[in-house]
Amino acid sequence: MNTILQLSGYLKPHLWRATGAVILAVGTILTGVGLLASSGYLISAAALQPPILDLMVVIVAVRFFGISRAVIRYSERLLSHDVTFRLLMHLRSRFFYLVRSLPASKLSGYRSGSLLSSITTDVDELQNYYIRVFIPVITAFLASAAAVIFLYGYSPAAALITLLLLLVNGFGVPVIVRRLSRGLGNRQITLRSKVHQLFVEQSQGMAEIRLFGLQDRKYLYTRRLNKEIARLERRQSRITGLQDTLFYLFMYTAVVMALLTTVPLILEGDLSGVFLALVLLSIMASFESVQNLGTAFQYLESSEKAADHIQNLEDQQESTKGQSVRMSTTGDDLQIALGSGNDIVFSDVVFGYEQEPVLDGFSAVFKSGEHTAVTGPTGCGKSTLVHLLLKFYQPDKGAIHIGNHNLADIDDEELRSNISVVDQYTYIFNDTLRNNLKIASPVADDSELIQSLENVNLQHWYHKLPQGLDTVIGEHGKTMSGGERQRLALARGLLKNTGLWILDEPTANLDTITEKELTGTIRNQTQASTVLWITHRLIDMDQFDQILVMQQGQVTERGTHHTLSDRDGWYAAMVGLQNDLLPYSGNQSME
């Protein structure tokens, strides 16, 4: 019930249209009642063979109901869909607002993908709420009430029976059927996900399945699961099949009971017999009002879940509101801070995403204008440095300073507008090349955009595009190769024009040759800037002013390529391994 109120809150701006749609929906059902009722009356009255003129009004009524029902229904469907799409816009806008105000920590890391895509499913789910739950439920109440009141004027007993059975059909039957079949439905969901998993395994692990001779075993297992799913589906249909059966059974019961209770009224002269057919036909037509409630309950459940998620986001938004206000450092100060020879200093930083510390007393100085490489084994905390520098997270202990400014005091947006980041997860929007670049600098004109593409050696690629800057660059950039995507990311960074570059394994998914070329381009373009380059592969390491080796959240080696190569440590061992690699080796290109 809470959910219904909360969700209906989103309808407020569209109240007039929503009301209109409900009125039309009620109108559709009532004209249906009207059509059958007037037809029944017409035939009964005509049977008494009055002059035809006496029946003209009824005949007009029958025709009116006949034509208007179709038109009203058509308008209702259009209007209610229109409201739904308006609501969708509202929901999307609201959701987007909530998500963008989330602390950045919620958006990074491996869970963010599922969080974000679940948000879009939630929005889709909620738009159903209006058209499948809200309108049908309100309409059912109003139309039933109107029909029952209408009937009451002729036969109170028949009206009350109809009311009772409308309630049974509208609420009792769907609730019971859903309750009875839920267990079976849940078991099917479990089995289906198992089968899904088997198909995934089949397509990805087929080499192993064949090598170990598991084909038949896997097939038999899948067959068994499929058989069980089919068995459960059949069992479930024996319950869900009751829905329609009971609906019609109760509808006809209402008709028969109405017949039994109305006949005495007629025989005793309290009601003219002319109205008997009218009463029975109106009852049949009135049951249309509760026919769609079965699906309404189904959608209500999923809407409730989606509504819970949105409520969760609302709550988080409440709780983070207070935090982001007390920033003292203005943008100008920061630009000066980053531009005028101020170093970035990590002092004894301790940080963990959960309990385990990822950075455990990390101290380092990144000198202004210098290029620093950070390397170390997987999971040593390299990428965490980036998260902290971008203020996606706050250190648990210790502090990070840029010049005299504590990072904690710098406004998030100001900070980020002064840092260029290229990592391995470059996101290309399903949009034109121009818009994909302009994200970095909305004021840049076309010549600047093209210049940036030339700087990152994308000019050949660019000249082949059919519509130049207006080319939509594919579904999430699928038309681009890995190297081209990373170059685009680099172009974005150049357009942003900042003094500090963070490069978080920008070549991680590229083959060796592309990697070498891209590395060269990045070096050329970032020469004059402060660079923090996180890397696993040790290429051209003598180009760095400083190299840090991180192990278990701490700096274990510090120096230049030459000093570290001579020392018997992780770095020297890694260089040895790298030298043992055949030059053509490297990550297999995905292109």
Partner: protein, 584 residues
């Protein structure tokens, strides 16, 4: 449109494999039509008796009994129809799922690799479930639409030809108009398809790119864009819906106007005494029932269309031709005895869909009991060679022999049991670590598994996991590093103790620690004499190999030891020239 029709035909033809179910639904529909007639006859008679003849109902118990039994039968028929429809649908889906699974197995790893696995499994599970609507709802409602109105119309025609005529003329026009409008709507949608797709995916796109937007401080601008695009989406979609909903309008219009027409026309003739009251009411009661099947068909039409679209991909997979091994294997001889020597003679292979061959006139020998290394740039055909050896694909031309025995004569299952493959892309089954290693040697006792893991240097990291060997890889799978996966693969190789080992070295350096462990384990594996083929990425490996094969553009251009090749082969020298890390 043609593809849609073809899918539709396929779906329908497949439905015919459970003919009995559709026949039962047809019979149920006939019974349903009969019960409707009896029920409405009863009701009209009861009203006639009370209204026209002023007879109390207590004198017409038989009429009441007829009404009550007819309504019970009619209600119960809904249940039987739904259960029968679902029964058929479940059977068909079960068969399809099984067939699809087998078909993917037959198409083999080389095919599966080129599919997007997410899309493939979604087709298999989600796609097939979409067919439920087609078989369980759409087809039954189509049968009902064909049977019930026909019976009712003929009956009314017999009762009163004028009313019957109205029904017979209006009824069939409904599906005709609906499909005409449906086609209009379809073309309209296709015209707008690109716009619609762009508009509807915009929100997801924006939300997924949020991290990027945040780094560039662009979330505020996008907020407005989200609203604008949503608004455009609404306008465009409403334009399409205005036409699509016309089919509903037509249905309603025909049904209501025809009902009104029946009522008015009967009313007028009643006044003039051309028809009796009971008959008139009877026909009036039958009119809405006549249009009901059209309505429920209209309601199912959309899900039927959706299913037909989903079926396209499904049939595409089922129709993909596969090179069936059985057809090429003429006879099976006894498996050759290890150690194995392999010979490729003029082998050629081209992947389906590719124009240039992956292997061409490829000739070389892998000596029994020796370590052979294979080097070559990516795309030179190295992995095609390993695929051929593990029979994931069969050569288009040329000969492969094992100890002089032709490739075609080998029993595939027996041959595969002789091979172990080690690489860091091993597939881990959604099971425990124990089961994953044990897959390589069915029913191996626990001690043997642990022993294999120890020799593969995997025991230590497995023991550190929360449940040791019983840890499910589902919980940990995503977090196993490349080096750990490599060691699981090694453990499998040790357990299998295969006479032929194919080793795919990691192409980039792992951490010094895991590199050291892996090379220790590999040396241990090579101590026992076996035939070994290494896809080499390490200088130290090629130095130690007995023989080296140099691959270029699909064939072996040169073979020899490291020292020979460095002296004689330019290509080889170029490929192994020191990498000089860090020094330009």
């Amino acid at each position: 449109m043609t593809e849609y029709n073809r899918n539709h035909k396929r779906l329908f033809r497949f439905a015919l494999t459970v003919r009995a179910s559709w026949l039962i639904i047809g019979i149920l529909s006939l019974l349903s039509a009969g019960s409707i007639i009896v029920l409405m006859y009863g009701l009209s008679t009861a009203v006639d008796r009370v209204f026209m003849q002023k007879i109390s109902l207590s004198d017409s118990t038989s009429v009441l009994l007829v009404i009550i039994s007819a309504m019970m039968i009619r209600s119960m028929l809904f249940w039987f129809t739904e259960v029968t429809g679902q029964r058929a649908a479940s059977t068909l889906k079960e068969r399809l799922r099984n067939r699809l699974f087998r078909r993917i197995q037959q198409l083999g790893p080389a095919w599966a690799e080129r599919q997007s696995s997410g899309e493939l499994s979604t087709t298999a599970s989600g796609g097939i479930d979409k067919l439920n609507a087609y078989y369980a709802k759409f087809l039954p409602s189509a049968i009902q639409m064909a049977v019930v109105p026909a019976v009712l119309a003929l009956f009314v025609l017999w009762l009163d030809w004028l009313s019957g005529l109205i029904l017979i003329i209006t009824g069939p026009l409904i599906p005709v108009f609906m499909s005409l409008i449906g086609m209009r709507a379809q073309t309209q949608t296709q015209k707008q398809w690109k716009t619609l797709r762009y508009l509807s995916s915009h929100f997801l796109d924006t939300v997924q790119g949020l991290r990027t937007l945040k780094i560039f401080n662009r979330t505020r601008d996008k907020q407005r864009e989200v609203e604008l695009i949503s608004n455009r989406f609404r306008k465009t979609t409403m334009g399409v819906l205005k036409i699509a909903f016309l089919s509903g309008l037509i249905l309603e219009l025909f049904a209501s106007i025809a009902t009104a027409l029946v009522a008015v026309q009967i009313g007028v003739r009643l006044i003039e005494g051309y028809i009796g009251f009971q008959a008139g009411l009877f026909i009036l009661l039958l009119a809405p029932e006549y249009y009901l099947p059209f309505r429920s068909f209209g309601a199912q039409h959309h899900s039927g269309m959706e299913a037909t679209e989903a079926a396209g991909r499904l049939f595409e997979i089922l129709d993909t031709p596969h090179a069936n091994q059985a057809s090429r294997v003429t006879a099976t001889v006894v498996a050759p005895e290890p150690p194995y020597g392999l010979r490729f003679e003029n082998v050629g292979f081209t992947y389906t869909g590719n124009t240039s061959p992956a292997l061409e006139h490829c000739t070389f020998t892998i000596e029994p009991g020796h370590i052979t290394a294979m080097v070559g740039r990516s795309g030179s055909g190295k992995s095609t060679v390993t695929r051929l050896i593990s029979r994931q694909i069969l050569p288009d031309s040329g000969q492969i022999t094992v100890n002089g025995i032709s490739w075609d004569m080998l029993d595939e299952t027996q041959w595969l049991e002789q091979i172990a493959i080690v690489n860091q892309h091993v597939w881990l089954f959604d099971d425990t670590i124990l089961a994953n290693i044990r897959a390589a040697g069915h029913n191996a006792p626990f001690e043997k598994v642990v022993d294999a893991a120890k020799r593969a240097e995997a025991h230590d990291f497995i023991s550190q996991m929360p449940n040791g060997y019983q840890t499910g890889v589902g919980e940990m799978g995503a977090r196993l590093s490349g080096g750990e996966r490599q060691r699981i693969a090694l453990a499998r190789a040790f357990l299998r103790d295969a006479p032929l080992v194919i080793l795919d070295e990691p192409s980039s350096a792992l951490d010094p620690e895991s590199e050291q462990k892996i090379s220790k384990a590999i040396h241990r594996l090579l101590q026992t004499p076996r035939t070994v083929l290494i896809i080499a990425h390490r200088l130290s490996t090629v130095r130690e190999a007995d023989r080296i094969l140099v691959m270029k553009e699909g064939s072996v251009t040169c073979e020899g030891t490291h020292n020979d090749l460095v002296r004689t082969d330019n290509l080889y020298r170029e490929m192994v020239e020191p990498f000089n890390t860090g020094i330009r």
